[in-house]
């Protein structure tokens, strides 16, 4: 999967007309991710990481630039975006489970509606996905009856059940407390071991060190620096990245 020179701006409406601001969330960002790669995007909040990820999944339309999935260009007019999105898994920061469905129903829905699997087959695949994130005991619970960590694992199961080519994860743990973060990270670690292709926005540094092949420092709508975790943990080249890493590492060790 590849992003080529992607731009995305959005407008924030103020109380008065002159307060309306245009925010350049993504400025000329290019990124490649190959099968089996695990890449991690990090950077200050509000820098446009989420917007960029949503553009990759075509949940937001880039203003300029191209997104490729395999050989297919998704930003061309006339592409069946629903088909393309079916090949991309997405995990949301705020989880966004279907609130009227149980855990099983959440995972099953796309298998039935998108892959058009027969009922039994869909159920089997959904249960397998839930087993993969170790959460079969929550099958018949509704989202509001689960803890944040359980809900997010169901979110991950929903994303992987279709065997997508790639999974995009938008800060999957930042809405959870440290204890729950642990269980979600364990799940992601398992996925990493199986060779799942993942692009993750996250600030979980120990996890990044362990699984990421490449880390991408994203600031003010653009990629400032890329490199293996060792680069960032030892001596990042840019001052911005240096500052940011010091602050993050101090926070985690304190």
């Amino acid at each position: 999967m590849e992003a080529k020179n992607v731009y995305k701006a959005y407008r924030i409406k103020g109380d008065k007309k002159e307060d309306t601001k245009i925010v350049q969330a993504v400025k000329d960002v290019s990124l490649q991710i190959h099968k089996g790669d695990i890449k991690l995007i990090f950077g200050p909040s509000g820098s446009g990481k989420s917007t960029f990820l949503r553009c990759m999944a075509m949940l937001d339309f880039p203003d300029k630039g191209e997104i490729y999935l395999g050989d297919q260009c998704l930003t061309k007019p006339g592409v069946d975006l629903n088909k393309a999105r079916a090949r991309i898994g997405f995990v949301f920061q705020h989880i966004y489970l279907f609130r009227h469905l149980t855990a099983l129903g959440n995972v099953e829905l796309a298998l039935r509606q998108v892959l058009k699997l027969p009922k039994e087959e869909a159920r089997k695949r959904a249960l397998a996905a839930l087993a993969e994130v170790k959460i079969t005991d929550c099958c018949s619970k509704y989202p509001s009856q689960m803890s944040g960590g359980q809900a997010q694992r169901v979110g991950i199961a929903r994303a992987i059940a279709r065997n997508p080519d790639i999974i995009l994860l938008d800060e999957p743990t930042s809405a959870l407390d440290p204890e729950l973060t642990g269980e979600v990270i364990d799940t992601l670690r398992d996925l990493a071991k199986e060779g799942t292709t993942m692009l993750i926005v996250s600030h979980e540094m120990p996890f990044a060190k362990e699984v990421a092949e490449e880390m991408i420092f994203y600031d003010q709508g653009t990629i400032l620096e890329t490199g293996p975790p060792s680069l960032f943990f030892n001596a990042p080249n840019t001052d911005r990245a240096k500052q940011f890493m010091t602050r993050i590492i101090n926070r985690t060790t304190r």
């Binding site: 949940l59 705020h94 966004y96 009856q145 929903r158």
Partner: protein, 224 residues
């Protein structure tokens, strides 16, 4: 005083009238739900032009008396079109269109409380906008809208009394006729009023039960 209740002639009138009242109300409210849902979707996703058209539609049906709408439909429209159309059918349509104007607002409000995140989630798993609306947004919106819908049902039931003025035999027409034959005024209207009260109370209770049964566990906290 209430002897007329035991006279077969009069109670058949009451039953006839009641069944028309119920028919018009149920059909009107259901047609209103169907049209209201479509209008709500179009109002959220449609172009400026169709949103404008919907605004005009809603203002017309909310802003003018139902009685006037009914008169226009039954006497003016067929005359202009030079057609003979069944009054029953026209009354059904007017109530459906009128109710849709209100129900569009309820549906739109309910959909907007869930639209942002649930639509993203639906698209992210590869469903189309229409599939997401059908399998995710509408099932939740309908649950949210049940209490408003019950209100709409109560007020529409009583509005159907206006059909008495275009020659249809509803519950109020039955009352008028019985009063004319028996010269009883207060007892007749007490009985008619009590029937409305019982029917509306019963129906709302059923809707309350459905609302409780269909409630998504835990979600009521989110909606407060």
């Amino acid at each position: 005083m209430f002897e007329f209740l035991f006279d077969p002639k009069y109670y058949t009138w009451i039953l006839q009238g009641l069944s028309l009242t119920i028919e018009i109300t149920l059909f009107g409210v259901l047609l209103g739900l169907a049209i209201g849902t479509l209008l709500a979707i179009e109002d959220i996703y449609g172009r400026k032009l169709s949103r404008g058209a919907i605004a005009v539609y809603v203002e017309f049906f909310r802003g003018s008396p139902l009685f006037v709408q009914l008169f226009l439909a039954v006497y003016t429209v067929p005359a202009i079109l030079n057609l003979r159309i069944d009054h029953y059918l026209l009354a059904f349509l007017v109530f459906g269109l009128n109710s849709a104007a209100y129900q569009k607002g309820y549906m739109k409000g309910a959909m907007q409380t869930i639209l942002d995140d649930q639509m993203s989630a639906g698209l992210s798993v590869g469903m189309s906008k229409i599939q997401t609306l059908r399998h995710v947004i509408l099932p939740q919106a309908y649950r949210i809208v049940i209490p408003s819908w019950t209100n709409e049902f109560c007020s529409l039931t009583k509005s159907t009394a206006t059909v008495a003025f275009v020659g249809l035999f509803d519950l109020v027409s039955a009352g008028i006729s019985i009063r004319a034959w028996t010269y009883q005024i207060l007892p007749v209207w007490i009985v008619i009023g009590a029937i409305y009260l019982a029917w509306i109370t019963g129906f709302s209770k059923i809707m309350d039960i459905i609302y409780e049964r269909k409630k998504i566990p835990g979600v009521e906290l989110l909606m407060q």
